[in-house]
Amino acid sequence: MWRFIGTRVAMGALTIWVTTMLVTLLIHAVPGDPVQIMYAQSQGTTPEQIEQVRRSLGLDRSIPVQYLMYLERLFQGDLGNTIRGGQPVLEVIMQRLPNTLVLAVASMFIAIVIGVPIGFLAAYREGTIVDIGLMVLAIAGISMPHFWLGLMLLFFFALELGWLPVSGNGPMNLILPALTLGLSNAAIFARLTRSSMIDVMNQDFVQTAFAKGLPKAIVLRRHVLRAGLLPVVTMMGLQFAFMMGGAIVVENIFSWNGVGRMAVEAIFQRDYPIIQGFILTFSVVVVVVAIAVDALYAVLDPRIRRA
């Protein structure tokens, strides 16, 4: 198991390392001059001052040197300063990251709590009208753009009915965005759970369990569910990454103050240090979660745990 997790950690480290390189290159891929953009709004900055800024950012050095400088600063926890307002990027991100994580976790919770039982029920009633109905629902759920779902929820629950607040970052505010993200993903979980359960139910060991005369409830709970949820667990890492991605849109709809909204703002503002920091943070989070999920998987599956 430790080797399994070890390879995952190595892979994750590789991902993050590649990210740092891409992120350094990013600023060079940008059409136009980032320093010009930084100082676009100031009047009377002389070319010398612009040069000065460029030098202080290391933009006059060769790309490998810049990369090393970037790494050095990175290890000191310095992700640079925002163009707008000149705040430390790390601080700006850290202020908002918890919000995004809370949103992603809450959505994940909703997705699992709704999706897994539905998938289980559909698998249990495979081929019946219940199954077909649930799966039509699921495919519709997957097809529904979550930004639209978000707007509709906002419209009904906040504007029309006034049941839920629309701004701020309190627990009540979490409900709608988490529901938006959670529902779309619940559909994915439902489908996944269903096909995984059906796979498992068609396996010989389930027949064996029935052949022993175990009641259906025990077979499902002890034999099917545990084995059938393993693929669902492996999907959780990927799904979390989708949640983080989806959060970008949903945060913008519900004014949820997370890194996603920050990133979109930053793109409009061409605030490259923030974008760089965001990409890096995002991949770190996704990698860490993926490793955690893999570790969980390793613990759950004796074939790996005992390897």
């Binding site: 399994f4 995952r8 064996t208 052949a211 022993k212 005369g213 074939r303 005992r306």
Partner: protein, 561 residues
């Protein structure tokens, strides 16, 4: 005969309903008594498993059973009565690898049903499970209880399966091809175990198999099925000695008897066509979930000569490296060490275009006839491919050649435009053979060419191969795990285990006087399709065998001792 346990009358199984209904099993009748072993034989798809599943009440959705199966005073097929699964009838599956829940411990799986059925409390159940494990011949039973299925070998898992069912003290045990997934040596042990259990506990055993050898060795009564119908039933002696039905006869005839003599051996004093020297190949382990497992020595310092015109058989159990050796010769797998020369050319050092030209001389026939044809290529195109690549024949000439080849393997030329899915398994294997001989190879490597086919068809394919051999003077490396098959076709036999050749020599010499203990175990383990020659006990295969370099024990007969 003792009291009747189970009485099946008019059992039919149907898939679907109404106009779409497809009958799978047609009014089957039989009785089973205590201590009786009833064997159901028949080729794949004949409805053997469906019959057993119907009795267990484990039919797949959309499949229904009708008729009567009286057991303990109730009709098993009555949907309103819960079948006495486990406690009444136990079922053992074919695939021990997948029949146990991978995420639960052996102990859990052994004891849970006892507890559920109220046969024992948790502690008691554990003690009995350990006892039973010992009974079925599993060493260190206490420790095994905490292990997971993947930590056990296939044979052990099958023993656990049997133990699991026996713990519930059923009256009837159904074993659905319990040994086909196992090596011959292990297979024999499991069959022995089953026979012991029937003798000791007086259960009635329904043994489902397609192997006449197993039937002859185990069963008292036989029921032969074909396409969902029972074509013949009776005592094993009656069936073997005087088969009444044509199909039964075909089945019996198809079984290559280990007793019948094989082709006449050719003198082998000419120059070797292919010579293999010190060939080795290791795999750095199969990757499971990104973990590199231990190193496998698939081929370990193998040296062999293949003479022109001969058929050399490579036998050995699963994983012994037979395919790997064959694939190295066909240049599909790279060897680590050693060299191979084909009529003077160093095969292993060739690359690029010269290699592609040389490939013409060695062709392969694979085990799975379906997978060995490109599903998106007509069989004509498949057969023409080597000709197109290796010769400059015009399109019309190629078509003519394809037609010839098709006729040669017993198909008709008009089939050239069809696609693989339009053929039966045996026909597909004929197409593969036609493709293999299309470019005029000097050596054909046949990797278990018949093991995926029904017995009746196996024989036809073997006949075709030996025809080709005698008419075209083909040289062949024949890979198989089935000694009986090998004896029928091979001039010489090489026995392989764990990547090494343990014994090789002329077929009759190896057969008549096997020198290596492993070869002996192998020959001993093979079921004999003759009920009158039932062996009571046999020497069980050892775990380790000597694996020293080969010495010539008799002229042309080498052995690692």
């Amino acid at each position: 005969m003792s009291s009747v346990l189970l009485s099946v009358r008019d059992l039919s199984v149907t898939h679907g309903s109404g106009t779409r209904a497809v009958p799978l099993v047609h009014s089957v009748n039989f009785d089973l008594a205590r201590g009786q072993i009833l064997s159901i034989v028949g080729e794949s798809g004949s409805g053997k498993s469906m019959t057993s599943k119907a009795l267990m009440g484990l039919l797949p959705p959309n499949v229904t059973a009708t008729g009567e199966a009286q057991f303990r005073g109730a009709n098993l097929l009555d949907k309103n009565i819960a079948p006495p699964r486990g406690t009444g009838i136990g079922l053992i599956f074919q695939e021990p690898m997948t029949a146990l829940t991978p995420v639960l411990t052996i102990g859990m799986q052994l004891t849970e049903a006892m507890v559920v059925h109220g046969l024992a409390d948790a502690r008691d159940a554990k003690a009995r499970a350990i006892q039973m494990l010992e009974r079925v011949g599993i060493p260190n039973p206490k420790q095994r209880m905490t292990q997971y299925p993947h930590e056990l070998s296939g044979g052990m898992r099958q023993r656990v399966m049997i133990a699991m069912m026996m713990l519930l003290e059923p009256d009837i045990l159904i074993a659905d091809e319990p040994t086909t997934a196992l090596d011959v040596t292990v297979q024999a042990q499991i069959l022995d175990l089953l026979r012991d259990i029937v003798r000791d506990t007086d259960v009635g055993l329904i043994l489902i198999t397609h192997d006449m050898g197993v039937v002859a060795e185990m069963a008292e009564d036989v029921m032969v099925m074909k396409a969902g119908r029972v074509v013949e039933a009776g005592s094993v002696h009656q069936i073997f000695q005087a088969p009444g039905d044509a199909y039964t006869r075909a089945l019996l005839d198809a079984v290559p008897s280990v007793e019948t003599a094989s082709v006449d051996s050719k003198p082998t004093d000419s120059q070797a066509l292919l010579s293999i020297r010190h060939l080795s190949k290791t795999f750095s382990g199969g990757r499971a979930f990104g973990i590199a497992a231990s190193v496998t020595r698939a081929v370990d310092d193998v040296s062999l000569d293949i003479m022109p015109g001969e058929t050399l058989a490579l036998v050995g159990e699963s994983g012994s490296g037979k395919s790997t050796l064959g694939r190295i010769l066909a240049r599909l797998t790279k060897a680590d060490k050693g060299n191979v020369t084909l009529a003077g050319t160093d095969l292993l050092s060739l690359e690029g275009a010269p290699l592609r030209q040389e490939r013409r001389k060695i062709q392969m026939i694979f085990q799975d006839p379906y997978a060995s044809l490109d599903p998106r290529q007509s069989v004509g195109a498949a057969i023409a491919e080597p000709i197109k690549i290796q010769t400059t024949l015009s399109k019309a000439d190629r078509a003519k050649r394809v037609a010839q080849l098709l006729s040669r393997v017993g198909l008709t030329p008009d089939m050239a435009s069809r696609f693989p899915h339009e053929f039966s398994g045996g026909q597909r294997q004929r197409v593969s053979i036609a493709r293999a001989i299309a470019a005029g190879p000097e050596l054909i490597i046949a990797d278990e060419p018949t093991s995926a086919l029904d017995v009746s068809i196996q024989a036809q394919i073997l006949d075709l191969l030996s025809d080709l051999k005698s008419e075209n003077g083909l040289t062949m490396l024949f890979i198989s795990h089935d000694l009986a098959v090998v004896r029928q076709v091979a001039d010489r036999i090489a026995v392989m285990r764990a990547g090494r050749i343990l014994e090789f020599g002329p077929t009759e010499a190896v057969w008549a006087s096997p020198r290596h203990p492993y070869t002996k175990a192998l020959i001993d383990a093979a079921p004999v399709p003759d009920p009158s020659r039932k062996r009571s006990a046999r020497a069980h295969a050892l775990d380790t065998f000597p694996m020293t370099p080969l010495i010539e024990a008799a002229p042309g007969h080498w052995v690692a001792l």
